[in-house]
């Protein structure tokens, strides 16, 4: 009898288990949440916009990798670390299988996808008493701005790219588009900037996009397009806003002493102790807890035309010599960069500074060369030089248009010695090949990452780079 009861009970128990298995097997994650309901109200929309900036500042984008692609392609920095493949950037022999280009590429498109989510979902959210149309527009506008910046960065680094304007929500709706032309890509940048300009408020926020941030990026955009009038117009809007923007003095005041968000800064990315910027570790020597794998080009390595010699020259670098420092370690002299130095790794990533707008306007004026433009251009150039405590240039120092443009080019080089302007400046002015000794025009673009070409049949390599 008992045996039967046991068997029956056991069988019953098994049946119950079977029935309750589905419940037993349902485990929901806690750390990450389902993507079924993501942007549903003001709070989640606001959080999703922050998420866009989080990727923009990530290590693979403006945190380090993307920033380094152009930094190491020019002549202001040298790479001396263990990843010797990075020297391909400086040697202009970058191979499509160089991991750095893939990391940056992926991070930029990830940023775009985050922006696309906001652009796609926020417009449908209902407006409430608290969640006003202006707030909503602001969110969408910021997403447009970051997407514009991302496509701008792709275009100037790789040329025309695939334009993905919808968020990816499942493996079944992966983007399926060919590469756009360079013009097409820049057209998308302008469209996004126009949308952002219309939606954003005219306020000042140095770590988030506002209408003013859009103007600053538009100034740079039009300079790249050689649309001098527009470049001058948008640069002037920032320069004239003297309540909020100025060339801070001394030069180092915009970054030294743990400074963040100074009036110099039009747009910078913010880091905190939980979301750190890896650059300090890469620039500082081991005596300060870093590895110093990237250094300003310097006389110890005998690089001709190195940036350190320019920076420490009182007539060229002036106060900008604060960007570099000589240290003797193990009896050997070493030069280090000081733009990224904070012990807690919260150095901002500087994207647009007021000085850039002066130099944009100076260049656009010099190029337009209409009546009075040369004087105005020189005045802008001298504004930047004056701040750095270097002798001002007289009109005789820059007798020809070429002289003036060269002076602006050189000023850009030292003003943004450790920021990533130099490479793009030389490329857009057509000077890169002669200045950096590059044989082939193909080398003015980076190759599309090899792994991407492998997985995406729509993606064709840049000519001559495979």
């Amino acid at each position: 009898m008992n045996k039967k009861i046991i068997i029956k009970t056991w069988s019953a128990a098994v049946l119950i288990l079977f029935a309750s298995c589905d419940k037993f097997l349902s485990v929901d994650p806690q750390e990450y949440l389902s993507d079924e309901a993501t942007i549903v109200d003001e709070g989640s929309a606001r959080s999703a916009v922050r998420g866009i900036y989080d990727e923009l500042r990530s290590n693979n984008y403006y945190g380090q990798e993307f920033h380094w692609l152009s930094l190491l392609s020019a002549d202001n920095t040298v790479y001396v670390g263990s990843q010797i493949v990075r020297q391909q950037l400086t040697n202009h022999t970058v191979r499509a299988d160089f991991a750095g280009i893939e990391s940056a590429w992926n991070a930029i498109y990830s940023t775009i996808n985050r922006a696309n989510n906001v652009i796609d979902k926020v417009p449908d959210l209902p407006i409430t008493a608290d969640f006003t149309q202006a707030t909503k527009d602001g969110f969408i506008g910021e997403a447009y701005f970051v997407r514009a910046l991302a496509y701008f960065d792709l275009a100037r680094t790789w040329g025309g790219v695939q334009l993905v304007l919808e968020p990816t929500t499942s493996p079944n709706d992966l983007p399926n588009v060919e590469r756009s032309t360079l013009q097409g890509t820049y057209a998308q940048v302008l469209e996004d900037l126009n949308n952002a300009e219309a939606l954003l408020p005219e306020t000042t926020n140095r770590i988030r996009a506002t209408k003013k941030t859009v103007w600053a990026l538009k100034a740079r955009y039009h300079l790249y397009q050689k649309e001098w009038d527009e470049a001058i117009d948008y640069a002037t809007r920032i320069i004239d806003d003297t309540d909020n923007y100025e060339l801070v003095r001394p030069y180092s005041a915009f970054y030294a002493g743990n400074a963040s968000g100074t009036k110099e800064s039009v747009f910078e990315l913010y880091y905190d102790i939980n979301n750190t910027n890896n650059q300090r570790y890469q620039w500082q020597p081991s005596t300060r807890g870093g590895v110093a794998w990237i250094k300003p080009s310097n006389p110890v390595n005998n690089e001709p035309g190195n940036i350190v010699e320019l920076l420490i020259d009182p007539n060229i670098g002036g106060d900008r010599s604060a960007l570099v420092e000589l240290q003797t370690i193990n009896n050997a002299p070493n030069w280090f960069g000081l733009l990224y130095y904070r012990d807690n790794s919260t150095d901002p990533a500087f994207i647009i500074r007021t000085a850039e707008l002066y130099l944009i306007r100076a260049e656009a004026l010099a190029e337009r060369d209409a009546s009075g433009d040369k004087d105005a251009s020189l005045a802008d150039l001298n504004a930047v030089r004056a701040r750095a405590n270097v002798p001002l240039l007289g009109i005789t120092d820059v007798a020809t248009k070429t002289d003036l443009l060269l002076a602006i080019e050189n000023e850009n080089r030292v003003e943004f010695a450790l920021e990533n302007h130099r490479w793009y400046d030389l490329v857009r002015t057509g000077r890169a090949q002669s200045v950096l000794n590059i044989a082939s025009t193909n080398r003015l673009l980076l190759p599309i990452p090899y792994s991407q070409i492998q997985v995406d049949p729509n993606l064709k390599q840049n000519p001559g780079l495979d």
């Binding site: 994650p29 990450y32 999703a48 998420g51 010797i84 992966l174 792994s451």
Partner: protein
């Protein structure tokens, strides 16, 4: 919380079983009627046999002999008795006993056919096996002083490939059973200790530079009785979802019913030291200085400088030649050499103590084990210690109901350091990567430079404490004749406590006034299991059947806190830090399973078996949740056929065949199939105030399902010369489909991959074991065992190549083996120019990416072991050799240390560089320009990593019984063991080493990784 899911679902059954069966079984209590006492002895030596089983016919009652070979029965039956006496290694004897006391002599058996082998949910006689199972005697392998039993298996079991990736005690190793079946999910076998599924995923979170600790090191090898490795589908399918990578079943020691107390004490002490032949070959200061000057001058010339200009600026020039304010570093001849490795190396002390007490009464048996192991590394700082307690206990509540417990508690303590990849605070690498001419100490006598070896030795402060409980409680009830029900609840709980402190003397701590980290992981696996077995024998027919179910839940939690900014180096707790941050994570999965097995045996001649298991995993959704895993097998014992009856030349001949499907879902993220958004994408709205942000985290794939491996196995067992020579040969074909993979997708989607069942992998191979009893005399014996296994791994289907580790040296590509190397092949160095010439290089010197190709793999063509044991009178000697052939390794240490000579420590091989036209060498001309030293994936660093090593030699002396009898001891043996004595390999460094614990990036050799130690121990075994 769902944390105790398993418990809630299963407790009622478990309690029910404990309470109900005893009530019904009381009626069969034996009436004491007669007693039988006796002694069991060896028929040849006349020595008593301890632990032999004496089984009375017609009752389930059996007793074991004590250490003097004595047994005694009290039973309800009357004389004469029919008893069966059995003991491993002896022929079973069935006899009728008419008098008490009695003496029973057993004859030693030459054949292993009666050997009992543990299979999934039961045991079988070896002769009845239809699957492929390797059994390893734990006593034979645990002489090698490593922390975990898995590392002891190298060369011991056919089909089991073991590589010890580094010489740090207690770190994870690489073990594969019949090759690698998966890419992104785990290819580790399932480990089961006394029926408990063991967590084998390291809980290490604090960076050890790419390395992880082994959770198996929490198990004391001294408590292990035997290890069985289940390899083919017939053997593993009963574990269905978990069986695809093989199953390793650990059985721990247990006492015997009716046996007197036995006490075993094992003590060993010894030391480890570095095998100098495996240490990096560093060039001296003057040599490096010479190379540095040459590098500098050549680079200058290539950059357009004149020779004179570049020469004048060479770094190692007289100190008084000041250029641009920079003095020279001195001429090469003046350049000193400092030995950092010498500072770091030591003789590491190793010690091991194991005490085992076992015994039992009529109705109960127990094993109590206590162990302590201390293993210092030969590198200062590194150390592993484990203290463990083991308690196994069974109690018969009646003739039909038994309850029991298995328990093991352990505490593993590790002193750790970063020994692997990465530039900062590397303990081992600090002694090698630093230029030999840089002084270790300043003139004032303080350590010079950041992360100086001396500084690290004295300031390293990373340690972990792992507290582990593995145990189970079970009840077994005989419901009817041959029908047995077993229910158990098991728990594997691990709390892993990590702490790390970087004081201001280290580069990490100096920048922020000290950094302290504390992390606590808790991993808990609850398992409830029921099995119902049935056995019936009539005439020549034997039927076995098994059904069962398992519920399992695993929860992993992690809490982490970090503080930076301390008042001084004496304040180390995070509470004293000026800035504190914290984090937390939680994850869980559950598995529900139902399984059955049926077997039929006709006259020990024809054996067939079928298995079916179904598993549901919380990792998959909807209809994809459940996987079904069948297996069929058969055995034909040809030796039992009439035409071989009486043939003296064949003692055993059996054919085995099996086919089955097993599954895998281990190692993938618990929520891999879901589309997820992260809550950790914070950013600030205004400066200085970070706020929470959300962002897409992963794309979902509701179609994600089980990875499935179909395996066919054919086996042959053959024994001849009176069983003194035996062969086992197996061939298999494993085909894995629906490989769980992070499928790469166009990054323009915003994602780089998603989890999918993409790809197919084949493993096929053979395993041969030859065992020979070469000489067997009274005073001298010599046994040899050789096993060789070959496995061919091939990715049959993979849409796009996937690369692993930095610089994508290692790739998975269709048509090639996993762990293949993707390189540019350097054909030679042009004798005229000194520049390397690559296969596929274009006439203009450019090297297109199409030139890059697959060159070799980290997987060997074959591997195995050769083991010899000798006994001469009271002396015994055993030698184990293990080998592996045909595997390659990219020597990352050479890659990092054969380059710009001013960048740190330089290997001697760079001295072979091209210097002048006509030089024939494979080391290019020194220059920073061109492809000479800027190409990461140069095949020049690829080396043959085949090896043959003397894994261990042990020599022992057992005291004669005559002496022992006066001491009260039943056995005493003293021994000496030497391990890793010699390695023969063409590889520069330890051929088994690899830079990371990432299983997909094997064969990236040597970099930052301490080679395995040589060890020597003296020990003493006492049995009371």
């Amino acid at each position: 919380m769902k944390y105790r899911r398993v418990f809630r679902y299963s407790l009622p059954i478990f309690l029910f079983l404990i309470f109900v069966p005893p009530a019904q079984s009381q009626e069969t209590k034996p009436i004491i009627n007669a007693s039988l006492v006796g002694t069991v002895i060896d028929s040849v030596t006349r020595e008593p046999i301890a632990g032999a089983t004496v089984q009375l016919e017609a009752v389930t009652h059996s007793v074991k002999t004590d250490r003097n070979g004595n047994f005694s029965f009290i039973t309800g039956q009357k004389l004469p008795f029919t008893v069966t006496v059995s003991y491993l290694g002896y022929e079973n004897k069935k006899l009728v006993i008419t008098t008490s006391p009695t003496v029973i002599a057993l004859s030693p058996s030459e054949k292993e056919l009666d050997e009992v082998v543990v299979v999934g949910y039961g045991t079988q006689r070896r002769q009845d096996l239809t699957g492929s199972i390797a059994k390893i005697d734990a006593a034979e392998v645990n002489k090698i002083p490593v922390a975990s039993f898995d590392a002891q298996l190298q060369g011991k079991a056919p089909g089991v490939q073991v590589l010890t990736n580094s010489g740090v005690p207690g770190e994870a190793i690489f073990l594969r059973v019949r090759g690698t079946t998966s890419i992104n999910s785990s290819s580790d076998p399932l480990y089961i200790v006394d029926g408990v599924f063991l967590n084998n995923t390291s809980l290490q979170n604090i960076s050890l530079a790419g390395r992880v600790t082994s959770p198996l090191a929490d198990i004391n090898p001294g408590d292990i009785e035997s290890i069985e490795v289940l390899k083919d589908a017939a053997a593993t399918a009963i574990y269905g979802s978990r069986g695809a990578n093989g199953v390793v079943i650990i059985t721990t020691k247990q006492g015997n019913y009716g046996a007197t107390t036995k006490i075993d004490l094992n003590v060993s002490n010894g030391w480890v030291q570095a095998d100098k032949s495996l240490l990096p070959p560093l060039a001296t200061g003057p040599e490096v200085a010479e190379l540095a000057n040459e590098w500098h001058i050549n680079s200058g010339i290539d950059n357009g400088q004149t020779y004179d200009y570049a020469y004048a600026r060479r770094p190692f020039r007289p100190v008084n030649e000041v250029i641009n304010g920079v003095p020279g570093l001195g001429t090469p001849e003046e350049t000193p050499t400092y030995d950092r490795l010498g500072l770091l190396l030591r003789k590491g002390y190793i010690q091991d103590y194991n005490l085992g007490i076992s015994g039992g009464g009529q109705d109960s048996r127990y094993y109590l084990g206590a162990g302590y192991t201390g293993q210092q590394s030969y590198l200062k700082v590194l150390e592993f210690q484990r203290a463990s307690l083991k308690f196994n206990f069974d109690q018969k509540l009646s003739e039909k109901v038994k309850i029991g417990l298995t328990n093991s508690f352990s505490r593993s303590y590790r002193n750790q350091a970063r020994t692997g990849d990465g530039p900062q605070v590397q303990l081992y690498n600090s002694a090698i990567a630093r230029a030999v001419y840089e002084p270790i100490f300043t003139d004032e006598g303080t350590a010079s430079g950041a992360d100086n070896t001396y500084t690290l030795i004295n300031n390293y402060d990373i340690n972990t404490v792992s507290l582990r409980y593995v145990g189970s409680a079970f009840v077994e009830a005989d419901l009817a004749k041959g029908l047995k029900l077993r229910s158990s609840i098991s728990l594997d709980y691990n709390q892993y406590d990590e702490s790390q402190y970087w004081n201001t003397n280290t580069s990490i701590g100096s920048a922020q006034d000290g950094e302290s980290t504390s992390g606590i992981s808790r991993s808990g696996t609850w398992i409830n299991e029921q099995t119902l077995t049935y056995q019936k024998k009539f005439d020549n027919h034997q039927i076995t059947a098994l059904v069962g179910n398992t519920l399992q839940s695993n929860t992993l939690q992690y809490n982490y806190a970090q503080g930076v900014g301390f008042a001084n180096d004496n304040y180390k707790l995070i509470s004293s830090a000026s800035v504190r941050t914290a984090s937390e994570s939680w994850t869980q999965y559950t598995i529900a399973s139902f399984f059955g097995r049926a077997g039929y045996n006709y006259a020990d001649r024809y054996i067939v078996e079928a298995t079916l298991r179904t598993d549901g995993s919380s990792k998959f959704l909807g209809n994809n949740r459940w996987g079904y895993f069948p297996a069929f097998s058969m055995g034909w014992r040809i030796v039992e056929e009439d035409f071989l009856k009486g043939a003296s030349w064949v003692n055993d001949l059996k054919l085995r065949a099996s086919w089955g499907i097993t599954g895998n879902q281990a190692g993938i993220d618990n929520f891999a199939s879901r589309g997820l958004w992260s809550g950790g994408a914070a950013y600030a709205d205004i400066l200085g105030t970070p706020r929470a942000g959300i962002a897409p985290y992963q794309l979902g794939n509701e179609n994600l399902r089980w990875e499935e491996t179909a395996q066919t196995n054919l086996g042959l067992d053959f024994a001849t010369f009176n069983n003194r020579l035996s062969f086992t040969v197996d061939v298999y074909n494993k085909y894995t489909s629906g490989v769980l993979l992070e499928q790469p997708i166009p990054a323009s989607s915003g994602f780089s991959s998603y989890w999918a069942n993409i790809g197919e992998i084949r493993n096929r191979g053979y395993e041969v074991t030859v065992s020979s009893s070469n000489i067997r005399r009274k005073n001298f014996s010599w046994n040899t065992s050789l096993n060789i296994s070959g496995n061919q791994n091939r990715i049959e289907k993979l849409p796009a190549q996937i690369s692993f580790y930095s610089r994508d040296w290692v790739v998975a590509r269709e048509g090639y083996s996993l762990n293949s190397f993707w390189l540019y092949e350097q054909l030679y160095v042009d004798p005229q120019t000194g520049d390397p010439v690559f296969d596929g290089q274009l006439p203009d010197g450019t090297l297109p990416i199409e030139a890059r190709k697959i060159m070799g793999s980290a997987y060997p063509k074959f591997y195995g072991g050769l083991n010899n044991t000798f006994t001469f009178k009271q002396f015994d000697l055993s030698t184990d050799i293990s080998f592996q052939y045909g595997n390659q390794s990219v020597n990352l240490y050479r890659y990092f240390r054969e380059r710009n000579p001013t960048s740190g420590g330089i290997f001697e091989n760079l001295l072979n560089r091209w210097q002048q036209p006509g030089d024939i060498t494979d080391v290019p001309r020194l220059t920073s320009q061109g492809l000479n030293y800027t190409l990461d994936q140069n095949s020049r660093y690829l080396e043959d990593a085949s090896f043959l090593k003397i894994r261990q030699v042990s020599f022992g002396y057992t005291l004669p019984t005559a002496i022992l009898s006066r001491t009260g001891l039943s056995k005493a043996r003293i021994y000496f063991v030497g391990a890793n004595l010699f390695v023969w390999s063409q590889f520069t460094g330890d051929p088994e080493s690899t830079v990371t614990s990432n299983p997909n990036a094997q064969g990236l050799g040597a970099f930052g990784t301490p080679p395995q130690p040589r060890s020597f121990q003296f020990g003493l075994n006492l049995t009371l």
